[in-house]
C-alpha cells in the first residue's frame, strides 16, 4: 500500500489492497521508519519496557540506600562507578539524581509515552475500523521524537556532573542554579531538551489520535458505539494537547532563566558567595505552570489504563460494562476537572489560602466521577462469569489499587490535612498506588490481552498468573507501609532517615519496603522472559482468543497494511453485547447486524 495512507486514500485503495499487500518492503521501512500503526505501537511498547526496567533498577538502588544506609553494595558500585558510589555507598547527589530520573522516566516515558503510545496506536485504528492513523507520517515522527528524547534522557545519566537531580518536578531555583546542585549543570539542560522533544512527540501523537477517532470511524461506528478504551484514549489525547504546550512554555522560561539570564522564576537570591542580578521573578509561577500540565498528566497516565480495564473486565466477565454512558460521563468530568485542580499541589507554597480553598473544592469533586467508575467496575463483575486470563487479574488489581490509592487522595486534597503530610511519604504512598500501580496494572492488562494482536502469538498463562500475584503482593508490600512513614512525618527525598534521632525507630518499615521492592523487581523478570519468549516462540494466536466483540478481532491474524484485506467492516451494535439473552453464544461481535426488534446499546 501507498506510504501516505490517509483515510480517504485507503478507502479508495481498499478494493485493490491485495495488490499492495504483496509489495515487499525493505527492513528499514517496515520495522524502523515504519508508518504502520501496528509497528509503531510495538516500537513504543518495547522502548517503554526498556525504560521501565532502567527506572525500576534505579528505584531498587535508592531503596537499598534507605533501608541500609551506609551499607556497601558491590553491585551499586559496579553500576554507578567510584564517583557516585565509592565502595558501594551511594552518593547523596546521585541519590537525588536517581530519584529524579526514576520519576521522570516512569511518569513520562513509561506511563505516558509507553501507555498511550502503545495502546492508542494499536487500538484506535483497530477498534474504530480504520486502515491506519490519519497521518502515518506524523505517527512515525511521534515515535522517533519519543525515541530521541529517551536517548537524551538516558545519555544525561552518563555525563560527569550527573543527570538532573532537582526532583522530577524540577522546581527552580534549585533547577535553575548550577551552584545549588551538580545536577543543575549540563544534566538539567539535557533534561529540559529531552522533555521538550518529548512534548513534540506527545503532541504529534495526540493530534493524530484525536483526528483519527473523530474522522475515521467506520460505517456504523457512532460515538456512542465506541469501546470505552477509545473514549479513554480520545479524552487523554485532548488533555495532552491542551496541557503539554503549557509544560513547554514552562520549560522554555526555565531555559531562558538558566541560559539567558532572564528572571522569570528568580528573585532576591544569594548563592555561591554573591547576590544574583535576577529580581522580580517568582518560583511560584513555575509551580503554577508546571502543575497546570502536571495534574492533567496524572489523568493522561490513568485514563488509558482505565479504558483498557473497561475492555478487559467486560470481556472477561462475559458481561456488558455496567453504565456505559456513566463511564463516558465520568471520564469527561474527570478530564474537565483535571484542569482546575492543579493548585492542590501548592497548598504549602505560600499561595493565597483563599485560592487554596477553591482548589480544595474542585479537587474533592473529582472523587465523585472516580467513585462512579470504581463502583461501575465492581458492578460489572457482579454476577459475571469471570474468565481469569492474566489480563483480567491485572484489571482487577487495577480496580483495587485505584480504590486503595484513591481514598488517601481525599485526605491530601483537603488543604487542612495536607499541611502535615504534604511532601511526606504519605504522598509517595498515595500517588504510587493510585497512579503508578493502577497505570502499570492497566498496561500489563493491555499487554497480556492484546499480545495476540501485536505479535500474533500467545503469552504463557501460568507465567502470567505467577507474575500477577508476585507483582500485586510486592506492590502493596512496597507502598502500603509508606503511609505509616508519612504518619511519622518522614519527608520525601531524604537521602537517609538516620542522620538525626527522630526517625530511628522506622528502620524496620524501610527494610520491609525495600525487601518487597527487590522481590517485586526480580518478579518482573518473569514478565520479561514471558514477553520476549512468547514474541518468538509463543503459541500461534487464533482469530479471537478471548471471544471479544470489538473490531480488532475481526482482522486477519497477520500484519497487513490497511488492517482489513477487503472492505472495512460495518458496525451494527455497541461493543458490549456479552451474554445477551436470546443469543446462542455469550458474545455478539460489533459486526453482527441487529436482529429485528433487537435494541442496541444495552436497551432491552
Amino acid at each position: 500500500m501507498a506510504t501516505t495512507n490517509t483515510g480517504l486514500e485507503t478507502e479508495h485503495l481498499a478494493h485493490h489492497s491485495h495488490v499492495h499487500d504483496e509489495h515487499e518492503e525493505s527492513f528499514v521501512s517496515k520495522y524502523i521508519f515504519s508508518m504502520d500503526h501496528k509497528v509503531i505501537s510495538r516500537q513504543f511498547l518495547i522502548t517503554a519496557v526498556v525504560m521501565a526496567v532502567i527506572a525500576m533498577t534505579m528505584s531498587v538502588i535508592f531503596r537499598m540506600q534507605l533501608a541500609w544506609p551506609g551499607e556497601k553494595f558491590a553491585f551499586v558500585n559496579a553500576l554507578l562507578g567510584d564517583k557516585w558510589a565509592k565502595d558501594g555507598i551511594l552518593d547523596p547527589n546521585m541519590y537525588l539524581a536517581l530519584v529524579t530520573i526514576h520519576g521522570t522516566i516512569m511518569v513520562f516515558f513509561v506511563l505516558t509515552g509507553g501507555l498511550s503510545g502503545t495502546f492508542s496506536n494499536l487500538l484506535i485504528p483497530y477498534q474504530i475500523g480504520a486502515r491506519d492513523m490519519a497521518s502515518g507520517f506524523l505517527n512515525m515522527l511521534s515515535y522517533w521524537f519519543f525515541f530521541v528524547s529517551a536517548v537524551i534522557m538516558l545519555a544525561s545519566c552518563f555525563i560527569s556532573d550527573g543527570p538532573a537531580s532537582a526532583g522530577w518536578t524540577i522546581y527552580p531555583p534549585l533547577s535553575a542554579l548550577p551552584e545549588s546542585i551538580p545536577g543543575s549543570k549540563l544534566g538539567m539542560t539535557l533534561w529540559l531538551i529531552s522533555m521538550t522533544i518529548f512534548v513534540v512527540s506527545s503532541l504529534l501523537g495526540s493530534l493524530n489520535y484525536i483526528i483519527t477517532v473523530v474522522n475515521m470511524r467506520t460505517k456504523g461506528m457512532t460515538m456512542t458505539r465506541l469501546p470505552l478504551s477509545i473514549w479513554a484514549f480520545l479524552i487523554t489525547a485532548i488533555l495532552g494537547v491542551l496541557s503539554f504546550p503549557v509544560l513547554v512554555s514552562c520549560v522554555l522560561l526555565l531555559i531562558m532563566d538558566r541560559s539567558f539570564n532572564t528572571s522569570f522564576y528568580l528573585s532576591d537570591i544569594y548563592i555561591g558567595g554573591r547576590p544574583l542580578d535576577n529580581v522580580g521573578g517568582s518560583p511560584v509561577l513555575f509551580e503554577h505552570l508546571f502543575w497546570f500540565l502536571g495534574h492533567p498528566e496524572v489523568y493522561i497516565v490513568l485514563l488509558p489504563a482505565l479504558g483498557i480495564a473497561s475492555e478487559v473486565i467486560s470481556t472477561n466477565s462475559r458481561k456488558t460494562i455496567f453504565g456505559y454512558r456513566a463511564m463516558i460521563g465520568s471520564m469527561l468530568a474527570i478530564g474537565f476537572l483535571s484542569f482546575i485542580v492543579w493548585g492542590h499541589h501548592m497548598f504549602m507554597t505560600g499561595m493565597n489560602p483563599f485560592l487554596g480553598s477553591v482548589f480544595v473544592f474542585t479537587t474533592l469533586l473529582i472523587a465523585i466521577p472516580s467513585a462512579v467508575k470504581a463502583f461501575n467496575y465492581i458492578t460489572t463483575i457482579w454476577k459475571g462469569n469471570i474468565q481469569y486470563t492474566p489480563a483480567m487479574l491485572f484489571a482487577i488489581g487495577l480496580v483495587s489499587s485505584f480504590i486503595t490509592g484513591g481514598v488517601t487522595g481525599i485526605i491530601l486534597a483537603d488543604s487542612t490535612l495536607d499541611i502535615n503530610v504534604h511532601d511526606t511519604y504519605f504522598v509517595i504512598a498515595h500517588f504510587h498506588i493510585v497512579m503508578g500501580l493502577s497505570a502499570i496494572f492497566g498496561m500489563f492488562a493491555g499487554v497480556y490481552h492484546w499480545f495476540p494482536k501485536m505479535f500474533l502469538r500467545m503469552m504463557n498463562k501460568k507465567l502470567g498468573y505467577l507474575h500477577f500475584w508476585l507483582t500485586i503482593i510486592c506492590a502493596y508490600g512496597v507502598f502500603f507501609p509508606m503511609h505509616f512513614l508519612g504518619l511519622a512525618g518522614v519527608p520525601r527525598r531524604y537521602y537517609t532517615n538516620s542522620n538525626f534521632p527522630m526517625f530511628d525507630n522506622l528502620v524496620d518499615i524501610n527494610e520491609v519496603v525495600t525487601v518487597f521492592a527487590i522481590i517485586g523487581a526480580l518478579a518482573q523478570g518473569i514478565f520479561l522472559f514471558n514477553f520476549f519468549y512468547s514474541m518468538f516462540r509463543g503459541e500461534k494466536a487464533p482469530q479471537n482468543p478471548w471471544k471479544a466483540n470489538t473490531l480488532e478481532w475481526t482482522t486477519p491474524m497477520a500484519h497487513i497494511h490497511g488492517n482489513w484485506p477487503g472492505e472495512l467492516p460495518t458496525v451494527h451494535r455497541w461493543a458490549y453485547d456479552y451474554s445477551k439473552p436470546g443469543k446462542d453464544k455469550d458474545y455478539v461481535p460489533q459486526t453482527v447486524p441487529l436482529e429485528e426488534g433487537e435494541h442496541d446499546g444495552g436497551e432491552h
Binding site: N93, L96, A166, P173, L174, L177, S180, S267, D268, Y270, P275, V279, G281, S282, P283, T320, A326, T349, G350, G356, S357, L364, I368, F375, I378, T379, G384, I386, Q387, T389, I396, I403, V407, I410, I411, T416, I419, N420, D423, K461, I472, G477, F484, L487, G489, P491, R492, R493, Y494, Y495, N499, F500, N505, L506, V507, I509, E539, S579, D586, G602
Partner: protein
C-alpha cells in the same frame, strides 16, 4: 574463575533451551492450548483472589497494630489539635470505604469466578444505582469539604493576638536561622544584596527596626500558650519549614515572605513526660542502642521538607517550647543584632 563462571552460564543457557524445547514439544501433544482458561484455572484464581484479600487485610491490620504507635505524637499546638480531629474523622471514613470496597471487589472476584455451566447476567445499567453512588459520595464529600475549609480558614487566617511572638525562619543550603523581632516587635527590613559573612540573613543595616532583632542558630525557643507568628524567607532555593509536632508547614520561597501561625500548647518538658512520647522514645532508643548510639530525649524539630540539594536530609533545627518565664530568661541571654549591624 571467570572462565568457570562463563562455562556455567553457557551450560545454563543450553539446559534452559533444552527444557523449553521439551515443554514446547509436550505442548503440541495436548488438546487444549496452554493459554486457554479452563474451569479449574478460574476456580483456582477465584479462590486465590479471596485468599489474597484475607492476607491483604491481615497485612493492613498487622501494620496498623505494629506501626500506628510510631505516628507523630498528638499535636502540640492549638490548630494542630483541630487538624488531628479532622484527620481522625476522615481516616475512619476512608478506612471504612477502603475495606468495604476492596472486600466487595475481591469477594465478587471469587464468587463469580468463571464456570462453563454458568452464564453471566445481562445488566447494562441501572439509573437508580448509578444515581445512588453519585449522590452518596457527593454528600460525604460535601461534609469533608465544609469541615476542611472551615478549619483551613481558621488556621490560615487567625485573628491577630496582641501578645504574639514574631519570628522569622530564614532558610539557606543547608541550615536554618531564627530571627526574633526584639523589643519593638518589628523585624528589620532585609536586602539580599547586603548578605555577607557577618550579615548572614541579609539585614538592611540602615533600618533601625532591625537593631534589636535577635539571631539564633541550631535551636530556638518559643513560649507556651502564646501565638507564634512565623515569617519565612529563603536565601537560595525553595525550602520548606516543616514542624511536624505542631502540624505546621510552609514553603520558604526566595523573593517572597510566607507566613504561618500557631500556638504551642505543651512545653518540651511536658512532652517528655507524655506517655505516648515516652513509648515513642523507647522505640527510638532501643534502635539506637542496637546501633551503639547514645540514647536521646524528645525534642521538637524544624525540618526542611522541600528538596533543596545534597544535604536536604540533614537540614534541621531544634525547637524548645518553654514556659513564659523560661522563655524570657533564655531570650534575655541572646545577643541583639545591633553590633553586627553597626559594622
Amino acid at each position: 574463575m571467570n572462565f568457570l563462571v562463563l562455562l556455567a552460564i553457557v551450560l545454563l543457557i543450553i539446559a534452559g533451551h533444552q527444557l523449553l524445547k521439551i515443554i514446547e514439544l509436550s505442548r503440541s501433544l495436548k488438546k487444549t492450548k496452554e493459554w486457554q482458561v479452563s474451569d479449574s484455572d478460574n476456580d483456582f484464581m477465584g479462590k486465590t483472589m479471596l485468599v489474597f484479600m484475607v492476607f491483604f487485610f491481615a497485612f493492613f491490620f498487622w501494620q496498623v497494630n505494629r506501626w500506628i504507635d510510631r505516628s507523630l505524637p498528638p499535636a502540640a499546638s492549638e490548630q494542630g489539635v483541630k487538624i488531628d480531629a479532622l484527620w481522625d474523622a476522615n481516616m475512619y471514613l476512608i478506612t471504612f470505604v477502603f475495606l468495604v470496597t476492596n472486600f466487595v471487589l475481591f469477594f465478587f472476584a471469587y464468587k463469580y469466578r468463571g464456570n462453563s455451566k454458568r452464564e453471566a447476567v445481562y445488566y447494562p445499567h441501572n439509573n437508580k444505582l448509578e444515581m445512588l453512588w453519585t449522590v452518596v459520595p457527593a454528600v460525604a464529600l460535601a461534609f469533608i469539604i465544609i469541615f476542611g475549609l472551615k478549619y483551613w480558614n481558621e488556621i490560615m487566617t487567625p485573628a491577630e493576638e496582641a501578645d504574639r511572638v514574631t519570628i522569622e525562619l530564614y532558610a539557606k543550603q543547608f541550615d536554618w536561622t531564627a530571627r526574633y523581632a526584639g523589643k519593638d516587635g518589628k523585624l528589620g527590613e532585609t536586602d539580599f544584596r547586603q548578605i555577607s559573612g557577618s550579615n548572614s540573613v541579609g539585614m538592611d543595616t540602615s533600618d533601625v527596626a532591625g537593631f534589636d532583632d535577635i539571631l539564633v542558630k541550631n535551636e530556638f525557643h518559643i513560649p507556651v500558650g502564646r501565638e507564634i507568628e512565623f515569617h519565612m524567607r529563603s536565601r537560595d532555593v525553595i525550602h520548606s519549614a516543616y514542624m511536624p509536632h505542631f502540624r505546621a508547614q510552609m514553603n520558604c520561597v526566595p523573593g517572597m515572605v510566607t507566613f504561618f501561625k500557631f500556638k504551642p500548647t505543651k512545653t518540651t518538658a511536658e512532652m517528655r513526660k507524655d506517655p505516648y512520647v515516652i513509648q515513642l522514645m523507647e522505640g527510638i532508643n532501643k534502635q539506637r542502642e542496637k546501633e551503639g548510639k547514645e540514647p536521646v530525649e524528645f525534642d521538637y524539630v524544624l525540618l526542611c521538607n522541600k528538596i533543596c540539594g545534597a544535604s536536604h536530609y540533614n537540614m534541621q533545627m531544634n525547637i524548645v517550647v518553654d514556659t513564659e518565664a523560661g522563655y524570657k530568661t533564655w531570650l534575655a541571654k541572646q545577643k541583639v543584632v545591633k553590633k553586627v549591624a553597626k559594622k
